[in-house]
C-alpha cells in the first residue's frame, strides 16, 4: 500500500512538467471535437468527386467577375498604380487617408502567416504544382477584390462626426434594398457571424499558432499557452487599453519586414538561378500531371486555390471593411486600388515563398521516377527535416542563410501581430453590426478575441488550420451571393468612371 502511494506521488511529481503540455493537449482535444462538424460541412466534396465544393465556389466566382468586368485586373492595373502614387489625388484633400495608406492598411491585414506558413502547407501537400494554381487564383481573385471593395465604399454608412462604417454587411442591407432584392439582412447577419468567427480563426488563431511554431523552431520547445498568453496580453493592451504606440510601431515595421522577406527570397532565388527553369518546370508539370502528391493534379489545384484564398482573402469580404473607411469621391477608385492586393500578396509574396521552398530542395522526390515521396502518414510530401508550415519555410530560407531563421521569427511575430490587429477590427465591425455599439459590448468581443489567441497558440496546426479555413470560406458564401446580385452596380460605376477618364473629365493633378 505504502509503495503504491509513493509510486503515485512519484508519478505526480514526474507529471509536473508534463502538466503544462497537458493544457495544450486538452485545448487541442476540446477544440478539434467542437469544431469538426462545421469543418466537414464546409469542406465536403461535390457528390461523387474528391473536389471540395467551397473551392469550386470561389474559383467560379473569381472567374465570373474576371469575365463580367472584361479582365479589369489587366485593364486597370496601370491606372491602379497611378492612383496609389497619388497622380489623381487632389492636393486640397491632403491630410485625408491616401490611396497608398488604404492599400497598405488593407495589406497589413492580408500579408500574414498565410504567405509564409500557408504556402508551405500548400506545396508540402499539393506539391510545386499548387504554386501554379495559387498564382492563377491570385490573378482571378483581383477581380473579386475589385468588386467587393467598390461596393464596400459605395454602400458604407457615414456618420455625423465624420467616421464611417462599411463592409459586406452594409452593402448587403443597403444595396439589396436599393435594388429591391429580398434577403439582404439575412445575408448580412450570416456574414457578420462568420466574420466574427473568421476573426477568431484565420485572423487570430492561425497567426498565433504559426508564430509559436516559429518561436519553438528557433528557441527550443516550450508549451504553446505561454506564447499565447504573452501575445494575448499585448493584443489586449492595444485593442482594449488603447495602447496605440504598439500598433503604430508594428504598422511601420511590417512593410520593411515584407520588403526584407521578398528581398531575401529574391537573393536566394538568384543564388540558385540555374534551378529556376527546373522549378518552373515542376510548377507547370505538377499543375497538370500527377507528380506523386495526394490527389494528383486535382490535389495540387485544391491546395493552391485554398491557400491563395486564405492568404489574399479575395471574395471573403474582409478587405471591403478595411477599404470602406477611406474617403474618396469615386467608389470605383478604391476598387481599382484594392485589386493590387491579391497581386502583391499572392502573385508576388506567396510565389516567392513557394519558389524558395522548391528551389532549395526541401521536398523529397524519388530520383528514379521523379515522383514525390510521401511521409509515413501518407498525407503530404516528405520534407528534408520532416517539418511543415512555417518551420518548412524557415528550413528553406535557413538552408541559404543560417541566420535567416532569427529574422524570420521577428517577421513572423510582426506579421502575426499586425494581422491580428486588423482582424480584431474586422471582427469588431461585424460584432457592432449585430449587437450595436457600446463600450461593454465591444469589450466582450475584445476579451473573447484575446482568449482565442491563447487557444490558437496551444492547439496543434491541423485543427487550427481546418477551423481557420472553414470560417474564412464560410464568409465567402454570403459575400459572393451578394457580389453576384450587386455586380451590375459595380459595372455601372466602372463604366461611368472609365468613360470620364477617357474623355479627360478625370485627369491627373500635376
Amino acid at each position: 500500500m505504502k509503495t503504491r502511494i509513493t509510486a503515485a506521488a512519484l508519478a505526480a511529481l514526474a507529471a509536473g512538467p508534463a502538466a503544462a503540455q497537458g493544457i495544450d493537449e486538452t485545448v487541442n482535444q476540446v477544440f478539434a471535437n467542437s469544431t469538426g462538424w462545421f469543418v466537414s460541412l464546409i469542406f465536403s466534396n461535390f457528390p461523387g468527386t474528391t473536389f471540395p465544393w467551397i473551392v469550386g465556389w470561389l474559383v467560379v466566382a473569381a472567374s465570373v467577375f474576371t469575365l463580367y468586368f472584361g479582365f479589369i485586373q489587366l485593364r486597370a492595373f496601370g491606372h491602379a498604380i497611378a492612383l496609389v502614387r497619388g497622380d489623381y489625388s487632389d492636393p486640397n484633400d491632403a491630410g485625408e487617408v491616401s490611396h497608398f495608406q488604404a492599400l497598405t492598411t488593407a495589406l497589413s491585414g492580408t500579408v500574414g502567416l498565410g504567405n509564409i506558413a500557408g504556402v508551405a502547407v500548400a506545396v508540402s501537400i499539393g506539391g510545386p504544382g499548387a504554386t501554379f494554381w495559387m498564382i492563377l487564383a491570385g490573378l482571378l481573385g483581383m477581380a473579386a477584390k475589385f468588386t467587393e471593395c467598390t461596393l464596400g465604399v459605395k454602400y458604407r454608412n457615414e456618420y455625423a462626426d465624420g467616421t464611417v462604417s462599411g463592409g459586406p454587411m452594409y452593402y448587403m442591407v443597403k444595396g439589396f434594398a436599393e435594388r429591391g432584392l429580398p434577403g439582404g439582412r439575412i445575408l448580412a447577419v450570416m456574414f457578420a457571424i462568420f466574420c466574427i468567427l473568421g476573426s477568431f480563426g484565420g485572423g487570430n488563431m492561425f497567426q498565433a499558432n504559426q508564430a509559436h511554431a516559429q518561436l519553438i523552431n528557433v528557441m527550443g520547445d516550450y508549451p504553446g499557452w505561454i506564447t499565447g498568453v504573452v501575445m494575448a496580453i499585448i493584443v489586449f493592451l492595444v485593442i482594449v487599453g488603447g495602447l496605440k504606440s504598439i500598433a503604430s510601431v508594428t504598422e511601420k515595421i511590417v512593410p520593411f519586414m515584407a520588403a526584407l522577406y521578398v528581398g531575401t527570397a529574391l537573393i536566394i532565388i538568384g543564388m540558385n538561378y540555374d534551378m529556376i527553369g527546373q522549378a518552373f518546370q515542376q510548377i507547370f508539370a505538377g499543375a497538370f500531371t500527377n507528380d506523386g502528391v495526394v490527389g494528383g493534379a486535382i490535389g495540387a489545384l485544391i491546395q493552391g486555390f485554398r491557400r491563395a484564398a486564405f492568404s489574399n482573402e479575395a471574395g471573403i469580404g474582409s478587405a471591403a471593411i478595411a477599404h470602406s473607411a477611406v474617403r474618396t469621391k469615386e467608389p470605383v477608385t478604391e476598387g481599382f486600388v484594392s485589386l493590387l492586393e491579391p497581386f502583391i500578396d499572392t502573385v508576388v509574396i506567396c510565389t516567392m515563398t513557394a519558389l524558395v521552398i522548391i528551389i532549395t530542395g526541401q521536398l523529397i522526390s524519388d530520383p528514379t521516377t521523379g515522383m514525390f515521396v510521401l511521409n509515413e502518414a501518407g498525407d503530404q510530401i516528405r520534407t528534408v527535416t520532416g517539418n511543415t508550415g512555417v518551420a518548412l519555410t524557415s528550413d528553406a530560407f535557413s538552408s541559404a542563410f543560417g541566420w535567416f531563421r532569427y529574422i524570420l521569427v521577428v517577421a513572423v511575430v510582426m506579421f502575426a501581430f499586425s494581422t491580428m490587429i486588423s482582424w480584431s477590427y474586422y471582427g469588431l465591425k461585424a460584432w457592432t453590426f449585430l449587437f450595436g455599439e457600446g463600450q461593454t459590448k465591444e469589450l466582450i468581443f475584445k476579451i473573447i478575441f484575446c482568449l482565442f489567441v491563447v487557444i490558437g497558440a496551444s492547439a496543434s496546426l491541423g485543427p487550427v488550420i481546418d477551423f481557420s479555413d472553414a470560417m474564412i470560406f464560410a464568409m465567402a458564401i454570403p459575400n459572393i451571393i451578394a457580389l453576384y446580385l450587386l455586380m451590375p452596380v459595380v459595372k455601372a460605376e466602372m463604366n461611368r468612371y472609365l468613360g470620364r477618364l477617357k474623355s479627360g473629365d478625370i485627369r491627373k493633378y500635376e
Partner: protein, 144 residues
C-alpha cells in the same frame, strides 16, 4: 503695386519673430502678408484600420484647432499693425508646401523663423529653413 509676403508660421517663438520682422518690412514697403501654417503630413505613412476610420474626423479637428489657436490671433496681430493679411492652412511636407504656396500665390518672398538646432538631429532629419534656402522659387528670409 503691393507685394505678397508668405510667412511660414507654426506657432513657435521663432515663427513669431519671423512674423514680427515680416510686419516691420511690410510696413516699410507697403506689402501684404499671407500667414501659411503647414501641418506635417505624408500620404505614404502607414496607418492602422482604426486610424483610417478616424482620419477624416481628426483632420477636421486639427484644422479647426490650427485655425482657432494659431492663425486667428496672428491675423489680428498683423491687421493691428495696419497690414492686409490672409491665411492658408495646408497639409504636406513643410518646405515643399511653403514653396508651392509661394508659387501659387505669386509671392515675392518667404519669411521663416529657424529653430536654431545645429546638432545631430537637424543633420539627420534636415531642417525646414535649410531646405527652403536650397529649393525655394523666391528669396527666403530666415529670421534667427
Amino acid at each position: 503695386m503691393s507685394r505678397k509676403i508668405v510667412v511660414g508660421f507654426d506657432g513657435s517663438d521663432a515663427s513669431i519673430r519671423a512674423l514680427d520682422f515680416a510686419i516691420s518690412r511690410a510696413q516699410a514697403q507697403g506689402d501684404n502678408i499671407l500667414i501659411a501654417h503647414v501641418l506635417e503630413w505624408s500620404p505614404y505613412s502607414f496607418l492602422t484600420p482604426s486610424e483610417v476610420e478616424e482620419r477624416h474626423r481628426r483632420r477636421k479637428e486639427e484644422l479647426q484647432r490650427a485655425e482657432a489657436a494659431i492663425l486667428t490671433p496672428m491675423v489680428k496681430r498683423v491687421e493691428d499693425a495696419g497690414i492686409p493679411c490672409a491665411t492658408t492652412l495646408r497639409y504636406g511636407h513643410i518646405a515643399e508646401t511653403l514653396c508651392r504656396i509661394a508659387k501659387d500665390e505669386g509671392a515675392a518672398m518667404i519669411f521663416i523663423g529657424r529653430m536654431g538646432d545645429s546638432g545631430f538631429a537637424s543633420r539627420i532629419f534636415g531642417s525646414v529653413a535649410a531646405t527652403l534656402a536650397q529649393v525655394a522659387p523666391v528669396p527666403v528670409v530666415i529670421v534667427p
